[in-house]
Amino acid sequence: MTQSSMPELARKPSAGFDLKLWGPFLALAGLIVLGTLVNPVFLSPANLANVLTRTAFTGIIAVGATFVITTGGIDLSVGSLAAFTAGVMIVVMNALVGPMGAGMGAGWPVVLVGMLAAVGLGLVAGLVNGLLVTKGRIEAFIVTLGTMGIFRSLVTYLADGGTLSLNSGMRAVYRPVYYGGLFGIPTPVLVFAAVALIGAVILYRTRFGRYCAAIGSNDEVARYSAIDVDRVRLLAFVLQGLCVAIAVILYVPRLGSASATTGVLWELEAIAAVIIGGTMLKGGHGRIWGTVVGAVMLTLIDNILNLTGAISVYLNGAIQGAIIIVAVLLQRGTASKR
């Protein structure tokens, strides 16, 4: 049989405009139009800066969640972990402020130690979650449901049921990390962008990122391809812990406090951002930029509702829910019609 007779089979996945790929971005654009219609203030730089800054916390956490979910896992403990980490960070800084002093000179080292403590705790917590999932062979859902309760409890205990507040001298030093910025862009937004960028590079351009998707798609195949499945899974949880720590480092200077209410339901928000962004809940396919858009969308919906007085406050949740569904319906709908 002659070779020339082989039909041209090559199908290009990139043929034309991929609505499945661009769906989240279109939905975001739709929301922005809606916001502008509701209240022109929406487009003011101050409001946009507010929105993006707020998104930073859950957004950064959601970047981590993208990895965990891509491997086919789930992490319910991130909100509690954020609260616990914030609590520990404050306790550490308050404890150091005595010996090291809170003056402008000595302040930064204390903040740095606090940050290190946060990062350390985040990594350890991720490691614990990851080890229980991989070595303990327990479903990620159950492990992190358990640690969710544990971390939440620990911060309540640490705060004696109340609120842990950062020493006011320290706050003055630390404040710029949240309220400052570069070229008019708030620091949290910059950090969020950096985390997302690094996340995207890791997910799309490194072996680890590929392995995450491979494991989520079919862990047996991954194992057969000589991938250390447990290690990759573990690392995804550790990365998630690191992201939580980074989010907390930005969060603490905002209000300078942590309590049992800190970070409640952040896990749901982070997971929602990831899924809205087009990552599959069952794993196998992760999309960092989608996650970023998903996180921004969720904040935008809140913001838009706050900018209008037209609706009974009781119905805010309903509008939120409806917008989420419609936004995703539109992007899926258009995508499937191709």
């Binding site: 209240n39 203030v41 003011s44 101050a46 409001n47 507010n50 707020r54 309540t156 705060a159 004696d160 049921g161 109340g162 609120t163 507040s165 309220y179 905002r254 209000l255 406090s257 309590s259 049992a260 209410t261 800190t262 409640v264 809140d302 913001n303 706050n306 900018l307 007085g309 406050v313 009781y314 805010n316």
Partner: protein, 296 residues
């Protein structure tokens, strides 16, 4: 042995899921320690619940397995907890209700409470006075519950007929972060705000940060509520942003526990009701309400 003769007092309160409830938990634990030391034959059983259903469960457990003699309860919500508390009463226990009255007041032996409508009213009165009866304000509410409604309704009732206009009202869930976010958006939405009624000190702290960030401290003042130490301190220090606070002390649980314990152990006679007034805290009286050691 003597353990059998111990008097058991069950205390059921909501878990520390927001600032005020955290204060409540702290005061309850302090009181437990204090009372158990004071009365060696008293055992205080403290349970916390994170929703109504669980609080009802707790009551069952307190009666059936912990075998308490008296119950001090701060109901999660009034109406749903009425029947479960009635069941405790019917089991022959002494019942003290704190803060949130049951729909059937005949159940309780003792009622220790703050006064939610009063709190809204006092807040409104202060607003009227401070604004001179005229101005634009925004309101940050708690979570959708009866207490929240009582406060807000009384507040609105009181400002009726004045030229105070409520520009916007949103739930901030008795939470600092939500207070911060909602206030940020209010600040974007309204170019001029004369005052903020935050109703709760946790919310107020978030509001303060948002106002500061927007650089609009000069424009408005903020009225919180509850009596959190940070806020009392600000009032004491004459912070122009926080000219006053309205008391709604979580310490009422301790008071209720003490009265009940005293009655149980010493058979001391009691009044049937102790209402803690919603006192307006001003720089003049602030030092009286400042507990630097409390976590709240």
């Amino acid at each position: 042995g003597w353990a059998q003769q111990k008097i058991k007092m069950g205390v059921s309160i909501p878990a520390a899921t927001h600032g005020w409830a955290g204060g409540l938990n702290w005061h309850a634990q302090q009181a437990k320690a204090k009372l158990e030391k004071q009365y060696p034959n008293l055992e205080v059983v403290l349970v916390t619940a994170r929703d109504v259903g669980r609080q009802a469960n707790d009551l069952e457990d307190l009666v059936s397995v912990r075998n308490i003699d008296a119950l001090v309860i701060l109901p999660f919500e009034s109406a749903p907890m009425t029947d479960p508390v009635r069941a405790v009463k019917q089991a022959g226990k002494f019942v003290t209700v704190v803060d949130r009255g049951l729909t059937d007041p005949s159940i309780q032996d003792l009622y220790v409470a703050g006064n939610n409508p009063e709190m809204g009213k006092v807040s409104a009165q202060f607003m009227k006075q401070k604004l001179g009866g005229k101005g634009d304000i925004v309101v940050l509410r708690g979570i959708p519950t009866v207490i929240d409604n009582q406060r807000v309704d009384a507040f609105q009732e009181e400002i009726k007929g004045t030229q105070i206009k409520v520009l916007g009202m949103q739930y901030a869930n008795w939470n600092r972060d939500d207070g911060y976010k909602v206030m940020q958006d209010f600040l974007s939405r309204f170019p001029k705000i004369d005052a903020v009624w935050a109703q709760d000190d946790d919310i107020a702290l978030g509001v303060i940060e948002a106002v500061k960030q927007a650089g609009r401290e000069k424009e408005m003042f903020i009225l919180g509520g509850a009596g959190m130490k940070d806020m009392i301190k600000r009032v004491m220090d004459k912070d122009p942003l926080v000219p006053a606070d309205v008391l709604y002390p979580p310490a009422m649980i301790a008071e209720a526990m003490e009265i009940t314990a005293k009655h149980l152990v010493e058979k001391a006679p009691i009044k049937k009701e102790y209402i803690i007034e919603a006192t307006l805290v001003t720089p003049e009286n602030a030092s009286k309400y400042y507990y630097p050691d409390s976590p709240f």
